[in-house]
């Protein structure tokens, strides 16, 4: 994992969303289609390849909680909207430093889940699954398992949350592909076990689109250089 090792060697504490998703994708986790754009022509080119509607997001390593910083525009339907949004995001980012703009497919799923990992001082890498989006902190409806985990553990995690019925066929939406979700949770556990540089992983939201889970936003935090050397 070159991205991880390089970032860690350079003393970075987090990967950008774009980098984080590349690492996730390398572990087989489905992520949104997306390209980085440094300028407007690159942005339009990316939009053409993905097809509208799209999402534009400011993208820099230190840019967590992007929506709170006014650097996210969703459901952009055409070139004119895209140009305006691009300009606004560049302006907002100029205030806080540099970065590129991430051009991303817009997924309209209404069910938002969260999946992640933390490195616990006592038990090591631990995988989390639960209700995502703004519900994560409000309902605190999550389940943990100590990594490495097996598919059966992942299935149990899905049954352990109070809001488990969100995974069923509800309100005309398809039942969630639990096997695909289990693969993601198992992969997250493996990432923690195999990469001592990773301190935490946060996939929030993990959106359910036509029954399939896709990582729409992601953040990978790294341990400090000193921390990794101890391991």
């Amino acid at each position: 994992m070159n991205i991880l090792q390089n970032a860690h060697k350079n003393g970075k504490r987090t990967l950008s969303e774009y980098e984080s998703k590349q690492v996730l994708a390398a572990y087989g986790i489905p992520v949104t289609r997306e390209y980085l754009a440094a300028n407007e022509p690159e942005m339009r080119d990316a939009a053409a390849r993905i097809g509208y509607p799209i999402v534009l997001k400011g993208c820099a390593a230190e840019l967590a909680h992007k929506s709170e910083k006014g650097v996210v525009r969703v459901d952009i339907r055409n070139d004119a909207e895209a140009r305006a949004a691009f300009a606004e995001i560049c302006e907002a980012m100029a205030a806080s430093g540099t970065g590129s703009v991430l051009v991303q497919e817009y997924l309209g799923g209404r069910r938002e889940l969260v999946a992640g990992m933390i490195r616990d001082p006592q038990f090591g890498p631990s995988v989390m699954f639960g209700l995502g989006g703004i519900l994560t902190e409000i309902l605190n409806d999550v389940a943990f398992r100590i990594a490495p985990i097996e598919r059966s553990d992942a299935m149990e995690m899905m049954d352990e949350i109070r809001g488990r019925r969100i995974l069923d066929a509800v309100r005309g939406m398809k039942a969630v592909d639990r096997a695909a979700l289990a693969d993601i949770l198992v992969a997250i556990g493996r990432m923690g076990v195999e990469n001592p540089e990773i301190d935490e992983i946060d996939i929030n939201p993990l959106i359910i689109c036509k029954g399939k889970p896709v990582a729409v936003d992601a953040l990978i935090g790294l341990v400090t250089k000193e921390g990794a050397q101890e391991k």
């Binding site: 992640g116 933390i118 038990f123 902190e137 389940a143 398992r145 100590i146 985990i149 935490e200 946060d202």
Partner: protein
């Protein structure tokens, strides 16, 4: 540390010693004296060697100025000297060929001082290099009634199926003192202390394979090697129930986390993960711990979910019925025969002949109504267990109630869960437990504990 089989062999020798030395045994009635009193109380049959720098004899036993002055071999040493004097004694133990040593005194890592940490690291080093096993420091050591070993006088001499590990010596004492009244008897109980050498994980793995242990219980304050403990816990839970009271789970932020995952990862959440992944049985509080140890000790395999409730007090009958639902259990459908039998002796007013069976106030004067109803319910093939909430108005009536229900339990094999009505004699409560019938303070405790045993039984069947 050496491999599992080697540790098991060592622990077997230490748990069944032929001789015990008590180093630093006081002459007068000071704290350390309890260790001698405990051995004498248990009628320890091996040699006891007090070690004291000047005394010739202590409480009728010949005392020795040092370990090396003892003529025979010493299997177990209990070390009571102040922490700063401990290392030379531990070196002497190694010289003497002692198999295991219990370090009672505090003053090590738990003080948070550099000196304390250093002293403890030295003990760990000696244990590692010599192969002698150290318990503690800062622990009470071992209670093995089958060997006559104990850390406190007044604990039951009768051995039983419960293996226990504890980060609190005094909690182990208190549990030991009340255990017999609840039908809880021990194979081995180990007070772990600071775990400089022998860890909770070692004891857990030992008890998992120990043929004398059928139920494992534990009180834990901290866990050292998390992943190692988890795998030992998984392996143990597949073999026998492991009931754990873990403290230190108050919600608190893991750290100033930048991620959602980090913010959610409380100690409680991670402990829940350990429990779910291992099949361990979590309990909270001393009462629930003792309830669980009693229930797992006394209730049979293959518990069913069809519960019959027998009660004199109507409100308690309804409460018990509600607790059944809360715990995922069912109210048994009583057979026509049972209902007919009940109708023959249960008064017609102020009572109920369907489950929950309310025999009314009159039964506390005519205890035979309880007894006959209990037999009818226990005989019903549609009933998997009977919850009995009853008491008579006099000691004589309660004695009859106790003896008769014990008889019915023996005749039918149907599990009974007895529920206290305040005022019921403690000696009869203990008589139930000693006859293999668990006795609880409330119906909620009874059904909660029953459901816990049943859930574990189902889990184990599924994972075997």
């Amino acid at each position: 540390m050496a491999d599992r089989d080697a540790i098991t062999n060592q622990l077997n020798q230490i748990f069944h010693p032929n001789s015990v030395a008590i180093v630093g045994l006081p002459r007068g009635l000071k704290t350390g004296k309890v260790f001698l009193m405990a051995l004498q109380d248990q009628q320890f049959s091996g040699a006891i060697y007090p070690v004291h720098p000047t005394a010739e004899e202590i409480d009728g036993l010949k005392a020795y100025p040092s370990l090396s002055a003892i003529p025979g071999t010493v299997d177990l040493a209990i070390i009571l000297v102040p922490h700063q004097h401990a290392p030379p004694v531990v070196y002497e133990c190694v010289e003497k060929g002692v198999k295991g040593a219990v370090l009672f005194t505090a003053g090590y890592k738990e003080t948070g001082t550099e000196a304390g940490r250093h002293l403890e690291a030295e003990l760990a080093r000696v244990a590692k290099e010599s192969g002698m096993r150290l318990f503690g420091p800062n622990c009470m050591g071992l209670y093995v009634p089958a060997s006559g070993l104990s850390f406190f006088p007044g604990l039951s001499k009768k051995p039983g199926p419960v293996g226990f590990l504890s980060h609190s010596g005094s909690l182990a004492n208190i549990l030991g003192r009340i255990a017999a009244d609840k039908g809880i008897y021990f194979s081995k109980a180990v007070s772990l202390g600071n775990e400089c050498d022998v860890t909770g994980k070692d004891i857990l793995s030992y008890l998992a394979d120990d043929p004398e242990t059928a139920v494992i219980g534990g009180y834990l304050e901290s866990i050292g090697d998390g992943p190692g403990f988890l795998s030992a816990l998984k392996a143990a839970s597949l073999k026998k129930p492991v009931i754990l009271w873990k403290v230190g789970l108050n919600p608190e932020g893991r750290k100033a986390a930048s991620s959602h995952t980090g913010a959610m990862a409380s100690r409680r959440q991670l402990w829940q993960a350990v429990v779910s992944q291992s099949g361990a049985v979590p309990v909270k509080g001393f009462d629930r711990l003792t309830d669980a140890l009693m229930s797992f000790s006394l209730l049979p395999d293959d518990l069913g979910d069809r519960i019959a409730i027998l009660s004199g007090p109507g409100g308690m009958a309804v409460g018990a019925a509600e607790a059944c639902g809360d715990e995922g259990l069912k109210l048994a459908e009583l057979s026509r025969k049972t209902r007919f039998e009940l109708s023959e002796f249960v008064p017609q007013t102020g009572t109920s002949l369907t489950n929950p069976v309310d025999v009314g106030l009159g039964a506390s004067l005519d205890i035979d109504i309880y007894v006959k109803a209990a037999r009818a319910l226990a005989d019903d093939p549609g009933v998997d267990a009977v919850v009995s909430i009853g008491a008579g108005l006099s000691r004589e009536l309660n004695e009859t109630y106790t003896n008769e229900i014990i008889r019915i339990h023996r005749d039918t094999g149907c599990p009974f869960l007895m529920v206290n009505i305040p005022g019921f004699e403690k000696e009869f409560a203990a008589a139930f437990c000693q006859a293999g019938i668990p006795f609880y303070e409330t119906a909620e405790h009874a059904l909660g504990s029953y459901a816990q045993v049943r859930t574990y039984q189902i889990w184990r069947k599924r994972h075997r």
